[in-house]
């Protein structure tokens, strides 16, 4: 596909929305998709970082079509407004990469009282995706949720304490949010496969990006050790499976799979629980006020 223009068959370029696109896996994904002649709607939290990333994406990519939408995923009102901005920019979306995510070293809550990891890593992409459904069905799109093998570090969602008000542990909160990504993918696939929408979850690998910097000391040490030994992946390596899925959607069928290193693999037992997937969707709808 190198050098060919990604088109929708009508001559218009394919449109990819990428969250968390100012650095790391998101920026590497956007760069690769710019190289495949996608039109990019990039999302970031800081306008300064977005400007720097924009310049980087345009360097050596003459005629690149890139728009930026700035949104803080810890504020659901911001996510809703950003979805509105995207609707004004395009009539359809071919690929939505829900990549933005974080890891914290202590419990904090958003303005609406949600635990921040759960809000940013799950509720925000849930709200963004469901707000964009008309555009996603129009293509139909491939929704790629950047999850993590970290979802296996928790046996199941803490259904009676999703905000982890009791026994909060940063890694457990992260694990739960990444399990939520797997379950969200599964339910998204179940609900909309009949309309052609494809949903996939991805484990990108252990990537030496800005990601571990907000985590606890143990996590930072783990990433530092992996980087020192050469085991950590570059952002480009971390983006590889995401870009592969974005450009070869047939590989993701049947919809709802979980991928690592371009292979469809089984998520944890909790990640294969269809009842849990339905339950999380219902709860999430209520939490983001869409019920």
């Amino acid at each position: 596909m190198e050098g060919l223009k990604a088109e929708d068959g009508m001559g218009a370029p394919k449109v990819a929305v990428v969250s968390g696109a100012t650095s790391g896996i998101g920026l590497a994904t956007a760069r690769a998709l710019v190289g495949q002649r996608f039109r990019i709607i990039a999302m970031g939290r800081h306008s300064g970082r977005a400007s720097a990333a924009d310049a980087e994406l345009r360097a050596g990519a003459e005629g690149a079509e890139i728009d930026w939408v700035i949104a803080d995923f810890s504020r659901l009102a911001d996510v809703r407004r950003a979805a509105g901005d995207i609707v004004r920019l395009t009539g359809h979306i071919d690929v939505l990469v829900n990549n933005a995510g974080l890891l914290l070293d202590q419990r904090s809550t958003t303005e609406q009282g949600f635990e921040t990891t759960f809000a940013v890593n799950h509720l925000a992409p849930f709200l963004l995706t469901t707000s964009l459904l008309p555009l996603l069905k129009a293509a139909p799109a491939h929704v790629i949720n950047v999850s993590s093998v970290g979802h296996t570090m928790i046996d199941d969602m803490r259904w009676h304490d999703l905000q982890m008000e009791r026994d909060f542990a940063p890694l457990a909160a992260y694990a739960q949010s990444k399990l939520a990504n797997v379950l969200f993918t599964r339910e998204l696939a179940r609900r909309f496969h009949g309309e052609g929408l494809v949903a996939s979850a991805v484990h990108p690998g252990l990537v030496a990006s800005r990601f571990p910097l907000t985590g606890g000391a143990d996590t930072r040490a783990y990433y530092a050790a992996a980087q020192a030994s050469g085991e950590a992946l570059t952002s480009e390596q971390g983006a590889d499976t995401v870009v592969w899925l974005a450009t070869a959607p047939g590989a993701a069928l049947p919809s709802g799979g979980y991928f690592a290193e371009r292979r469809r693999i089984a998520p944890s037992a909790a990640g294969q629980d269809d009842d849990g997937a339905r339950r999380l969707w219902t709860i999430s709808e209520r939490l983001v006020g869409q019920a």
Partner: protein, 291 residues
Amino acid sequence: MRIIELGYVLVGAPETSEWRRYATDVVGAMAIDDPSGALYVKTDMRAFRIAVLPDRDAGLLASGWLVPDEPDFFRARSELANDGVIIEDGTEEGAGLRKVQGYFAFRDPAGHRHEIAWGPISDFTPFVSPVGVSGFVTGDMGLGHVVLAAPSSMEQVMEFWTKPGRFGLSDILHVPGPSGAARINFLHCANPRQHSLAYAGLPVPGGCIHLMLEAGSVDDVGRCLDRVARHDVPLLATLGRHVNDEMISFYMRTPGGFALEFGAGGKRMDWSEHLVFETTRGSDWGHQWRA
């Protein structure tokens, strides 16, 4: 219950043809097509040691443990059932596929599927490697070993497996993990192999960390390294020697996503004189992990 050996493993694959090339051209095993669509990988006098089954997801499906005979098989079944383990009884068709007299399946506390079987069926066709491997060390040692991830349930896994007649602890290794040092517990059954099963307290995509096959000589290991380079198979860890089983080995990626440790010179243990030990370094030399 008396577990004698790791008798077989079942592996899922969207494309069994990928495994055929890998098993014959890289590993140097024999590959035999079954009319059912399964691909049997043969490494000794047994009909097969790895059965690759068409599946949507790539990865390890089950580890098959052999008990001596039918009375032991039923004792194992009632013992596990009495412990409250959910047993999935085998079928005639399933026994035919596994080439055993009987089997049943269950999940360990980490969610991995295991099978207990008795009476392997073989025509005793000798093993002849298509690429000149001198042979694989099986016999009274079983097919090798399997290492699984238990990122959130190590205590339960150890309690489950170390009941009398199941497995004994061989040694403990500490490695860096996302929440501090993670433990790998190496377990042996009623044979001289230093470990037939191990669990690591680390999250690993697909849940299987690696499968080990032991070749007849260190020259087989070197020649396999040459084939790995020739066939562009990702090398995951360089040549090295483990401190516990003293095996000289390297690790490569399989089409199942998990790693295959290909080694030689594994120690034969006399368990009557064994002292469980803990190490903070898994290898005397080598085994540098790569991204």
